[in-house]
Symmetry: none
Subunit: 196 residues, 4 copies
Amino acid sequence: MKKNKPKYKQIIDAAVEVIAENGYHASQVSKIARKAGVADGTIYLYFKNKEDILVSLFEQKMGQFIEKIEEEIKTKSNAKEKLLSLIEMHYQQLAHNHHLAIVTQLELRQSNKELRLKINDVLKRYMLVIDHIVEEGMEEKHFDQNLDMRLVRQLVFGTLDETVTNWVMNDQKYDLMKQSKGVHQLLINGLAQKTN
Amino acid sequence: MKKNKPKYKQIIDAAVEVIAENGYHASQVSKIARKAGVADGTIYLYFKNKEDILVSLFEQKMGQFIEKIEEEIKTKSNAKEKLLSLIEMHYQQLAHNHHLAIVTQLELRQSNKELRLKINDVLKRYMLVIDHIVEEGMEEKHFDQNLDMRLVRQLVFGTLDETVTNWVMNDQKYDLMKQSKGVHQLLINGLAQKTN
Amino acid sequence: MKKNKPKYKQIIDAAVEVIAENGYHASQVSKIARKAGVADGTIYLYFKNKEDILVSLFEQKMGQFIEKIEEEIKTKSNAKEKLLSLIEMHYQQLAHNHHLAIVTQLELRQSNKELRLKINDVLKRYMLVIDHIVEEGMEEKHFDQNLDMRLVRQLVFGTLDETVTNWVMNDQKYDLMKQSKGVHQLLINGLAQKTN
Amino acid sequence: MKKNKPKYKQIIDAAVEVIAENGYHASQVSKIARKAGVADGTIYLYFKNKEDILVSLFEQKMGQFIEKIEEEIKTKSNAKEKLLSLIEMHYQQLAHNHHLAIVTQLELRQSNKELRLKINDVLKRYMLVIDHIVEEGMEEKHFDQNLDMRLVRQLVFGTLDETVTNWVMNDQKYDLMKQSKGVHQLLINGLAQKTN
DNA sequence: CATGAATGAGCGTTCATTCAT
DNA sequence: GATGAATGAACGCTCATTCAT
C-alpha cells in the first residue's frame, strides 16, 4: 500500500508546508518535490497528478482531524457536552497547527470546483458526526424535535468554518480557543427545545 | 466618471456570465471582451488589469446587493423582523441571479489572498448591517445582553454563506428561499434573551 | 508646407525630449502627443507614422547641425583649420544640447535597419563636407595624395562618433570639447603628406 | 557547467542565424527554439530570459573573437605589426562570418541601453588589447609619447567599427580585408612619433 | 524504484493607428 | 483642422507531466 510508505507522507507534509509558506498558486510540483527531498518524477510514482496530492492531503489530514474529534466525543455522555467537545477539538487542532489551518481555510479553497467537490466528500464524514450529535440531542429532548437536519448541519459547520477563517485571515492574532464557550452557547440556544 | 459609462457595466456583466459559464480559471480576458462586444484592448481603458475587473465586479454587485437589503430593512420595525428580512433578501437576490450566485460563492473564492482581502473590504459594509440589527435587538431586550459581537456576526454570516454555497454546489436544485424561516428561527433562538 | 507650421516643430521637439527622458522603447506616440500639447490623432496630420517622426527629427536637427558646420568652415582658409573647425563644431553642438546628443548617439540607434538606412541618407551630406575638406587638403599637398576617400571618411566620422558616444555613455561627465585638439592632431597626422 | 552543454551552444548559434535572417525585432524566442531544434521551454533551462540569450551570445562570440586576436598578436614582435595583425584579424573574422557581422554591427545595437551597457563590458577586454599595443609602441618610441590613451582607443576602435558597419550596410559587397593595409597606414601615421 | 532534462500549450497586456464627431 | 475612444495583433514565459536512463 502506497499510503504507508514513508515518501507518501513526506510528500504530503512537504505540500502542506510549501502551500502554507508560498500560497496555493506559487506551489509548484517541483517546489514540493525539493522540500520532500525527492525528484520531481518521484511525485508521480505516488500521486496521479498535482490535484491528487491536494485531495490526498485533505483526506489524510482531515481524516485524522475527524478521528480525534470522534474519539473525544465518545467520552462525553450527552449531546450538549459532545457539541462543546466538537467545537473545542475543532478549534484546538487548527490552533495547534498553523500551517494546516492556512492550507485548509485559505489556500485549498483557491482550487477549482472539481477539487472542491472531492473535498466536500471528505467533509461528509464530519457532517455525519454533527448529525449524530443533533439526533442524540433530539432524542434527549434537549434539542427541538422539528429541526431541519440540513440547516442545523450548515449552521454548525458554517459558524465554525467562518470563525476559523476569520481568525486565519486576521493572522491568527487572537485566541481562537477562548471563543469555544461563546459559540457553544449560541448554537445550543439555536438548537434548544423551545419550552414556551 | 468611467463607472457610469455603458461599456463599464457591459464588461462587468460579461465577466459575470463568462466566469459563471466557464469557471474562474478558464475566463480569459479575450473571452470577456468578446462577450461584452468590445475589443480586448478596450477592457484596459476601463480596468487597470484582469484582477481589477473582478474586484470591481464584486464591488458593484455586492454594493447593490447590500443596498437593497438596507432599503428593505428600513421598512421593518424591530430586530427580529429585520433579521428575517435580511435572510430573505440575501437568499432571494442570489436565487434570482444564478450566475451571480455561482460567481460569488464558488468562482471568486479561487482568487488569491490579495483579491480576497479586497473582497473582505466590501463585505465589511454587510457586517455593519448585521451589527446594527443585533445592537437594536439587544436594546429591545429581545437579544441577549452579553453577546460577543464578532461571534454573532460570524454565526449569522457563516450560516447564510454556508447555506447558499451548499445550495449552489448542489446545482441549485432545491428551493433556497424556503429555508429562510428555519434559519431565522435557529438564529433568533441562538441570540435570544435567556429568560431562565 | 507642413514643415513650417508651428505644430510640426512642436511635435519634433516634444519627441526629442520624450525620447531623451524615457528612452526609445518607452516613447509612445501618446507620450509625444501629450508633451507637444496635441491629441494623438493630430500627430498623424503631420507625420505618416511613428517612424516618420523619427526620420523627420533626424533630418531637421541634423540638417541644422550640418549647416552650422558648413557656415563655420567657410570662414577658414585651409584644410587643417577646416578640419579643426569641423571637430570643434561637432563636439560643441552636441555638448550644448544634451537631449539631442542622447537621442542621436544612443536612442535612435535602437531603431530598425530600415530607419537607419534613412538616417544614413541624411548623413551623406555630412560625409560630403568631410570629403571636400580632404580633397582640399590633398590639393594643398598637406594631405597624402593616395588617400582612399572612403577610408578617410570612415576614419574621421568613426572617430568623432565613437568619442561622442563614449562621452554620452559615461553620462557626459567629462569635457568633450577639450578633446578637439587631440583628436585633430591624431587625424591630421594620419592624413598627412609623408615627407620621408 | 551549462555553458559547455551542447544545447547551450546550439541555442546561441540558432540565435545568431535567426537574428541575422529576420532582424532583431522579428526574432521571437519560439523562432530561435525551432531553429535550435529544441522546445521553447528548453531555452529557459539554459538562459534566464531573452535578453540573457543576447548577452551570452555576445559574450561567447566576442570572447572567441578577442581570444583569436590575442593569440595572433603574440606572434608579432612590435607594435606596428601587432596593430596590423589586430586590424586583419578583426576584418577577417567578421568577413568570414557574415551572420555574426550582421548581428554585432547592426542588430544587437537595437537593444536597449541596459543591454548595450553589458555589451560594453565585454568590449572592455578588447580595449585593453588596443591599449597594450599602444603602450608597447610608445615604449618602442615608434608612437608619440604624449598620446591620450582614451582618444587613441576611440580612434582605433571607432575607425574599425565604422568601416565594418559601412561594409555590412552596403551588403558586404566589397572586399573588407583589402582595406586592412590602408587603415593600418592611416592609424600608424596618426600615432607616429613626430620626428620634426 | 528513482531521476531530472525536456516538453509545449496557453494568456494578459501594450500601443501604433484609425475614424466618427 | 483637431480630437481621443476604440481597435486587435503579437509574444515572452511558466510549469505540470513524461520518459529514457
